[in-house]
Symmetry: C2
Subunit: 257 residues, 2 copies
Amino acid sequence: MQATALAAARSSSLFSGLTEQEKDKLLAAGHVYKLEKKEYLFRHGDPVKNFYLVCSGTIQIFRETPDGHEKTDEILIAGHSIGEREIVQNAKTRQFNAMAVEDTLLLEFSAVWLKESAKANPVFALNLLSAIARYAEETAIELEHQTTMSATQMVACFLQRLCVLYDFDPSGFTLPYSKTLIASRLGMELETFSRTLAKLKPHGISVEGTRVVFTNLPQIEAYVCGECSIAEDCSTHRVLQGKLLCIEKKSCGGQCK
Amino acid sequence: MQATALAAARSSSLFSGLTEQEKDKLLAAGHVYKLEKKEYLFRHGDPVKNFYLVCSGTIQIFRETPDGHEKTDEILIAGHSIGEREIVQNAKTRQFNAMAVEDTLLLEFSAVWLKESAKANPVFALNLLSAIARYAEETAIELEHQTTMSATQMVACFLQRLCVLYDFDPSGFTLPYSKTLIASRLGMELETFSRTLAKLKPHGISVEGTRVVFTNLPQIEAYVCGECSIAEDCSTHRVLQGKLLCIEKKSCGGQCK
DNA sequence: CGACACTTTGAAGACGATCAACGCCGGTGG
DNA sequence: CCACCGGCGTTGATCGTCTTCAAAGTGTCG
């Protein structure tokens, strides 16, 4: 169990470019931390004491609005890290909640450890910087999507990304978490999400229950980077892995075939 | 002229904690760069070669969607920096446009200079890390606002922030840039923005032409951090300077008096 | 089998975008 | 000095999309 946990942790981008010895030394400071489904890792307002690496399972990062609604900011899986931004900024309290979506294994490190390690190891520091910069970039893209894309486009975009990120088979895979969670992640209501799925069929994305099938693969592929004539400039449709998706004429101005 | 430019630049948070000598040494590598109103600093797709510090004037960072719409990501004034994220991430091309809103003075540095300086000076490196982390945090809040607040709330929030950020007099100040730009920044149409302003009057915010007056100051003040009963947990209404604004009952659930 | 969580579907409503027309102002040129 | 123009902002009417509220359907697990 411990061995598997470490394997996932050492594959984190934070350790890229480090020797196996260096990784061992850094990881030695971590304690295994288990969470059961629905258990909280921490809540909004808790003091920032620790840094975490996800080894297995899934962690949901979310905020609660005063009227009781939840907005999911991130869904983290093995290899992802939690808390580096707050620690770097010396934030005193957590600004969001972290909860296990399913049984989850983490490695726990102290905030001090993170800072010391960054000071002591320039490669690690650069990885940290890069991870935070990447998060900033992803959030900015997310924001752009939110303000310029329709719900249909967002869902299509999300499913494509999901497929790439989790290395699923496009010709058929199962959603890794509930539709409620996905809707919350996309900042829309469950009902809207549910209705949207039906609209995707004509575009070659079929969803029934938790089963997703990219039918008419060539058509879908055609939407992917390289075949989209405005790929370079199509910032609206840029997806994190450098792939593109233009699902509706509306915001493509018909330039994407 | 040069003296003023340097004064604004050295006040940047990137140099906090450095001795005057260190600042001098770092700033010596910069070249003054002038932009006239409407002139581009760079465009989407341009190679990432330089890092900039804004000394005076205003720079608009924006993206163009394929259907011709513009979304303004940031409005930068003296002390702000441009390009650190792309450089840290080794991005090859700019992912957005940067244009002068008015005549603007900048300091230009090479991308290499930024990296070398970060390597050579740990305090500078930490400031850089902190600046990027702060940007990430601000963007995340922005995203949360976008998905949970109404147009009315966003505008009210923006005006309050503007007042704090620019150190304006709440009892009366002039908008520092056009309403078109503000609307674009808030991700809404000019018409929506225009209509929204009228709705703010009952809440103690009066806008006529470019003149903004926070009337009924006590009422407004009451909305500000400390007097809002759910201040600590009211992430939706958290504003960058640690101030709060709850302008409508809708999402406060009546908890904010 | 029943309880419960999760999802789907329907109908109504709110909100912001869109299209269109008009007013205002500063600048330019005759 | 006046007429015209273009940029900017306001206002009105309409439309589409997403949310909201309500009810019913599906699946799983004890």
